[in-house]
């Protein structure tokens, strides 16, 4: 049986693309690198938009990458159900391209923040969180300058009512996100945006925990069960 093929997009200024690919491999899937300027998703089963500072994030985080040629392919594919995970800068790109509601603004503390963050997984039903149990607490690094999630009241209420807050900050809100939101998903649960970096919590040697691995194995599990249905 073939392993799931997970695409990792490299935008100019992506930084965690190779780390995301490593996490995909550690989860037992095949990492396929995707180039922002191509119009080709290379037939992958899922896509990760990695962290970084694409285009320097000079204008607004994710604002320019949203216009990448590859995004013209990704947006309809995501709307049609392709599993997509945006981590940090990837989350920002997903919001800028309206695959996810709201926006990410500069941290309330006005500094870049890098810390080992305790989180609670509040939705274990998405393509990327199926390996977790609802309410599970995990430790995963956050590292961002523009991580403050905002949305208007109606959107926030919608996210809460529909259980679309995927992860929440515990102990300390590192960036001033509304409702301590660390990650959200779309209505269908296939598109997830996450500010913390699960790809930096996949090996005990290099991360504070291995709690992040679940994001990548969830997908493999989901992918395998899909294959089983076929």
């Amino acid at each position: 049986m073939n392993a799931a093929r997970v695409g990792v997009i490299t935008f100019p200024g992506s930084l965690d693309d190779r780390d995301a690919a490593r996490a995909v491999r550690l989860a037992g899937a095949e990492a396929v690198s995707l180039w922002h300027a191509d119009h080709d998703l290379r037939g992958v089963d899922a896509v990760i938009l990695p962290g970084g500072f694409s285009y320097g994030d000079y204008l607004r985080a994710g604002a320019i990458s949203r216009f990448a040629p590859l995004m013209e392919e990704l947006v309809p594919a995501a709307r049609a159900g392709l599993p997509v995970l945006g981590i940090c800068n990837g989350f920002q790109v997903l919001c800028e391209s309206h695959l996810l509601p709201g926006a990410l603004l500069p941290n309330a503390g006005l500094h870049f923040v890098c810390r080992d963050q305790r989180l609670r997984i509040d939705n274990a039903d998405t393509a990327w969180t199926a390996e977790y149990t609802e309410g599970q607490e995990v430790v995963i690094p956050v590292k961002n300058r523009d991580g403050r999630y905002v949305a208007d009241e109606r959107t926030l209420a919608e996210l809460e009512d529909e259980g679309r807050v995927v992860a929440r900050y515990l102990d300390l809100n590192p960036n001033g996100s509304l409702n301590d939101i660390a990650g959200i998903c779309n209505e269908a649960g296939n598109v997830v945006g996450l500010m913390p970096h699960p790809e930096h919590a996949v090996e005990s040697l290099t991360g504070p925990s291995t709690d992040g691995l679940g994001f990548f194995t969830s997908l493999v599990k989901a992918g395998l069960s899909r294959a089983g249905v076929r």
Binding site: L15, D16, R22, F53, F112, V113, E199, L205, T206
Partner: protein, 598 residues
């Protein structure tokens, strides 16, 4: 207003008596005479620009050279050294076909003028140094010194410096794996910002700053050239330029980390396809430095069409182009058949690249501007044969008194309250308190290979996922010890870094250093420098670790008051398997504590 006339070689020959602003450019009478002797005529404005920057203290090491020689002379035999001092950075074999290159550099003065940009471009500069050796940069460290924490100037400088180091390094995707943050009154108007970068490559990927092979093309790539950091050049233009346009020339360089990130990825692809014969980053002295050094190290000749340099400001004069310190630029020497592919890869990364010249076998560096020859020099005379000074030195007058003022003369706590206050005072002192407010602004996770970082005393990186091969690095200095005894102070800094690296389980291999001192024209400072370099060289010999490179920063002083002499020493060690590293934590209850040493 038409273009001012070009000060060509022909004009220079016709006007031998023309007065030239060499003093304003920081050259003394003797140095200017030497240039005239070398050329057999007066230099053109462009040539004067080249010699003045290449013979500056910063580029020529004219006051420090005689002392730095000891690092080579006393260097222990060490098979691990693949490239020694003299190149952009030394290269050390770490086994399994891999090599690492690392170096520390200062950006002290610019960080006082504009803290954010000064610190940011300091990181950018050292990263390009490592990149130009053929390596992929994999981590950074920073050693910082500020005045008292509550001084207004510190409150202006410190947040900007930390944000700048973080802003640039984080945007490049380089983990920050350690450093120092120290407060002392002597740094109030002379903060120290020393940045270290380490890179990894395969042995056959090592690149040199050379331009061999007549007919090979010279390509400038990266950012366009603007009027950054050319305060000096405006004096040259003053003969031909109105005052108003001079006032426009800024001394502040602004960094573009996004461009540098693209440069890194672009260079990695260029190296992978073996498209460069020689490469050099453009740092201080920009095009002057890159062309003279590349040419001098190759077949000795190069022809450059200076008009081809892409400009951000079209009014720049040739002298200004030669002296511009615009960041994020590199120069490569490429075989003609590979130029097309080279330019293709640059275009893929959206990086401007331009062929600006060609390697020749004439032994001369020739540059034209508007079809006239404005530079015609033997490049080695600018790059390697600068002046060398044996500056006089003598112990500072107050040294004996300082040394006599021992801790024994301090009042002892007389009672429990005194003791309590002392402990509280220590706990609250900025030098001893936690530095997480600094380190939390730095990404320590990116690249996924950071095995140890803050709060550990040394950073540890994995280089190879399979075998666990890795390195440990520590960066340490102590200006107070060095002030009391520069010889022992340098050795103490080295041994602290050496111990920090060894304590993680690594085998120390090589040393880099950044020597921060006052003015070399002050005999007291020069004595501190001589003693510190001697101490460091002797200790490296005793410990069997060679100095592979470094940087000297002089003139860190406020009027006549120099900073404490501050040699900052970096030690690199190798781990055969980082999975066996040791950290600071007590792993479990019941273990025994053992004190090693005296």
């Amino acid at each position: 207003v038409g273009e001012p006339p070009v000060d060509s070689v022909a004009v220079a020959e016709r006007t031998p008596e023309q007065r030239q602003p060499y003093v304003e450019l920081g050259m003394n009478e003797g140095e200017y005479r030497r240039v005239r002797d070398i050329l057999g005529r007066r230099p053109t404005a462009a040539e004067l620009a080249i010699y003045s920057v290449m013979w500056s203290e910063h580029c020529s090491y004219k006051s420090s050279k005689v002392h730095l020689r000891q690092f080579a002379d006393k260097a222990p035999q060490n098979d691990a050294l693949l490239v020694g001092m003299g190149e952009n950075a030394g290269v050390v074999d770490v086994g399994r076909g891999l090599a690492v290159t690392f170096k520390v550099e200062s950006h002290n003065h610019p960080s006082y003028v504009e803290p954010y940009q000064g610190a940011a471009t300091g990181v950018g500069g050292i990263v390009r140094d490592i990149l130009s050796m053929g390596a992929r940069p994999v981590a950074v460290m920073d050693s910082l010194r500020f005045g008292p924490a509550d001084a207004p100037d510190t409150q202006r400088v410190l947040p900007g410096v930390v944000a700048g180091v973080g802003g640039y390094g984080n945007s490049l995707g380089l983990p920050n794996i350690g450093g120092e943050t120290v407060f002392d009154a002597c740094y109030l108007q002379n903060p120290l910002v020393n940045a270290l970068c380490i890179g990894v490559m395969r042995h056959d990927d090592i690149k040199r700053a050379i331009a061999p092979g007549p007919g090979n093309q010279v390509i400038l790539f990266g950012a366009t050239t603007g009027p950054d950091g050319i305060g000096g050049a405006s004096v040259l233009a003053s003969a031909t330029f109105d005052e108003e346009s001079q006032a426009k020339r800024p001394s502040v360089q602004v960094g573009d980390p996004f461009m540098e990130k693209l440069l890194i990825e672009c260079c990695m692809e260029l190296y992978r396809e073996d498209l460069v014969v020689g490469i050099q980053d453009l740092g201080a002295a920009g095009v002057s430095c890159a062309t003279t050094e590349l040419a001098a190290a190759g077949t000795g000749g190069m022809h450059v069409v200076l008009d081809r340099v892409p400009l951000r400001d079209p009014t720049l004069r040739p002298e200004e182009i030669l002296m511009s310190e615009s960041q994020e630029r590199m120069m490569a020497v490429v075989e003609p058949a590979k130029v097309e592919r080279f330019l293709e890869i640059c275009a893929r990364w959206e990086i401007p690249a331009t062929v600006i010249g060609e390697v020749t076998d004439t032994g001369r560096l020739v540059m034209t501007w508007r079809d006239e020859v404005i530079v015609d020099i033997p490049p080695g005379t600018a790059a390697d044969e600068g002046p060398v000074y044996e500056r006089p030195y003598a112990p500072p007058a107050d040294l004996a008194a300082l040394q006599a003022d021992t801790p024994g003369r301090l009042a002892r706590p007389a009672n429990a309250d005194d003791l309590r206050n002392t402990v509280l005072w220590l706990a609250g002192s900025p030098n001893l308190s936690a530095k997480t407010w600094v380190t939390s602004q730095y990404d320590r996770y990116v690249l996924g290979n950071t095995v140890l970082a803050m709060p550990e005393d040394a950073g540890v990186l994995r280089l190879d996922d399979e075998s666990g091969l890795g390195v440990a690095l520590s960066l340490d200095g102590n200006g107070r010890y060095a002030r009391l005894d520069p010889y022992a102070g340098a050795q103490l800094a080295l041994s602290e870094a050496y111990r920090n690296v060894a304590a993680t389980g690594a085998r120390p291999l090589a040393v880099t250093n950044c020597l921060n001192f006052g003015s070399p024209e002050d005999p007291g400072v020069m004595w501190q420098f001589a003693r510190a370099t001697e101490g460091l060289a002797d200790a490296c010999q005793a410990l069997g670790v060679p100095v592979t490179g470094g940087n000297v920063s002089f003139y860190n002083q406020t009027e006549t008051q120099p900073i404490n002499p501050t040699p900052v020493i970096g030690v690199l060690g190798v781990h055969d398997d980082v999975r066996r590293r040791v950290n600071m934590a007590f792993p479990a209850e019941g273990h025994m504590l053992v004190l090693l040493g005296q």
